[in-house]
């Protein structure tokens, strides 16, 4: 890859026009994913994580509109025609979706599911495609690949199906993999296996953008993390920094809500009081303010911008002044009163 990031997302906003009026699902989201790097987007249900992925791939529901810029390997995807999108989908960006049960077409054999992307584009002959499907299954550690190719999705276990889906997403050799809560539907031991495979994918130089609400997944796999709340990124940091010194109160609260096996014994798990705001009724201020124990009056009135964190190498060198070329900081927080150090995590 060239020096620039594989995927540049700048000021991405997603709106849905519904019967209750315009709803902003995502706004002002910017991030980069580089080759061989794993970025995790963390957030609770409804925070707009999945819509970010869908917007990048042009897969939004028909009532959704996208603004901003998404550049993949230098090509702008927002507003791109279907032809370009179809070239990028599969061969440029692979998608691994949440539910392995429903993401594989039930009446097609595993072989067809794996090879159709290659065959349809004429990238391989039938025999080559067959060989590559065999290798792909072996790569995701599926035993007896020869026999599996002839089976149907319902004949495989959930974990196997998710690994087949991973193999299918990687068949056309994408440079970037989108994983939308890839482990949510799986049990813990299978989760670990899928995560290991994803780490292997990343180590082969593929950029991985993983969406999850599971901080355990983040800790094991991600190099960097972006925390989303109510359609915005509230904090980005490297995984180590985020876990050791979260700066946004929401991040801190999320971490405090995860049970720990080691370290300081917690007497009780701490929940976050209240509910996330409805996307249709967002306040002018910080979306987290009503649930935040550090909130002051200012938090309810003005929305904090994402600002590079103090003491962190602020940003990459800017490449120009268009939106697409603007650099994003590697670590930043959107809070009027960020936590300063570990002692403040109550």
């Amino acid at each position: 890859m060239t020096a620039g990031p594989l995927l540049q997302v700048r000021d991405l906003a997603v709106d849905f026009s519904t019967s209750q009026g315009e709803v902003q699902a995502v706004s002002g989201v910017s991030f980069d994913v580089r080759a061989g790097e794993c970025l995790a987007v963390v957030g609770e249900s409804g925070s707009g994580k999945t819509q970010v992925l869908m917007a990048c791939l042009g897969l939004l529901a028909s009532n959704g509109t996208t603004r901003g810029s998404v550049q993949f390997a230098g090509r702008e995807l927002i507003g791109a025609n279907e032809r370009l999108l179809n070239t990028v989908r599969g061969t440029g960006i692979g998608l691994l979706s949440q539910d392995p049960l429903s993401s594989l077409t039930p009446h097609l054999r595993i072989e067809t599911l794996l090879t159709e992307g290659l065959l349809d584009r004429g990238l391989a002959s039938r025999d080559e495609a067959h060989e590559r499907a065999l290798r792909a299954l072996a790569e995701v550690e599926i035993p007896e690949p020869q026999a599996r190719l002839r089976q149907y999705p319902h004949e495989l276990s959930g974990g196997m199906r998710q690994r087949v889906a991973l193999a299918a997403a990687l068949m056309c050799g994408p440079q970037l993999l989108f994983a939308d809560e890839p482990t949510t539907a799986l049990d813990v031991s299978v989760q670990a296996r899928v995560l290991k495979l994803l780490a292997g994918v990343r180590d082969r130089g593929v950029g991985v953008l993983i969406i999850t609400h599971d901080l355990g997944v983040v800790a094991g796999l991600a190099d960097r993390v972006a925390v989303m709340y109510s359609g915005r990124i509230v904090e980005t940091a490297t995984t180590d920094e985020l876990f050791s010194a979260p700066r946004h109160p929401y991040t801190a609260a999320l971490l405090a809500a995860v049970p720990r096996l080691h370290g300081v014994a917690q007497s009780r798990l701490v929940g976050i009081p209240g509910d996330p705001p409805q996307p249709s009724a967002r306040s002018p201020g910080c979306a987290f303010a009503p649930r935040c124990d550090r909130a002051v009056e200012r938090c309810g009135d003005s929305r904090p911008e994402l600002t590079p964190s103090a003491g962190v190498n602020p940003c990459m060198t800017a490449q120009g002044d268009s939106i697409a070329a603007r650099a994003v900081p590697l670590a930043a927080v959107a809070c009027h009163r960020p936590l300063q150090d570990r002692a403040e995590i109550a």
Partner: protein, 294 residues
């Protein structure tokens, strides 16, 4: 590694697999065998008899003779002294031809139209389905009469006309299913794989609606057979001396009391054809769904 899978079997299609599964359904196999027998008789039956379809047998005591082996009229003769055995198989040939061709026409157009409208959705869907609604609103008897007047009476016209009317319902059914399938995650996965819409419709949507399509098609066949006899009755369909099962049944019903075989024989053939089609359709629907596999 397990034992090697035979190299050629991996290229089996959906239909190849369906055939493998269909072989295990006894009812479907018996029905298919019976249907084949009926088809074979419809093809060669008329030659087995010494009589032809329009030949009147003056040698018998009455014109309508009951079935008998001795006279060579195995199914008897009709009120005009014509051999019923020959006429039944000629009629079966005609009815099956019309039914199968009209059903194929309606299935092909209906599935393609409905799946495209349902998958694309939005404005395209709106226009395509409004077009169907407009055609629905045409009284189709009227439509068929106009076609006959303009193009003259022909067999091809009958099944084209029937098929052209039949696809409307098929399109609505398939469109409804496609609309639901479009929301499914595997379709999204296929889009995310960069497959073009035509491929997604053909490979991921249509096979999923085949079960419904087959059930509906087996229901269409008897409708078409009856509709054809109705058209013939109006003088728009098959004309004498040719005949069809529907016509034979209708004529037989008139002579029911004096010569019951005229009703019973063609009815039995018609009923067994329809029954077999239903069993076969049922078996086929199960066979096309890989999850039904034992």
């Amino acid at each position: 590694m397990v034992e090697a899978v035979p190299a050629d079997s991996r290229r089996q299609s959906l239909w190849g697999d369906a055939w493998q599964r269909l072989k295990h359904s006894r009812a479907a196999i018996v029905a298919a065998a019976l249907l084949l027998l009926v088809c074979a008789l419809a093809l060669v039956g008329p030659w087995l008899s010494a009589y032809t379809v329009e030949q009147v047998d003056w040698t018998q005591a009455t014109l309508a003779t009951p079935p008998s082996l001795a006279s060579g009229h195995w199914f008897g003769t009709d009120a005009n002294g014509r051999d019923l055995f020959v006429r039944v198989w000629i009629g079966t040939r005609m009815s099956l031809l019309v039914a199968v061709l009209a059903t194929i026409v309606s299935v092909v157009i209906g599935v393609a139209w409905g799946a495209t409208a349902g998958y694309l959705g939005g404005r395209v869907d709106g226009w395509m389905m409004r077009f169907v609604d407009v055609l629905y609103a045409l009284p189709y008897m009227f439509f068929v009469i106009i076609l006959t007047v303009v193009f003259g009476r022909s067999l091809v016209l009958i099944f084209l006309a029937i098929g052209a009317v039949g696809w409307l319902t098929m399109a609505r059914i398939v469109r409804g299913q496609a609309l639901a399938l479009r929301q499914r995650e595997f379709v999204e996965a296929a889009i995310a794989l960069g497959l073009p819409p035509a491929t997604i419709i053909a490979r991921h949507i249509v096979p999923n609606v085949l079960g419904t399509v087959i059930v509906y098609a087996t229901l269409t066949v008897p409708q078409v057979i009856l509709f054809e006899s109705f058209l013939s009755f109006l003088g728009l369909g098959v004309q004498e001396p040719l005949t069809s099962l529907g016509r034979l049944v209708a004529e037989g019903a008139l002579e029911m009391e004096s010569s019951p075989w005229l009703l019973l024989v063609p009815s039995a053939v018609l009923a067994s054809v329809l029954l077999c089609l239903n069993f076969l359709g049922d078996g086929l629907r199960d066979a096309l769904d890989p999850r039904q596999r034992r």
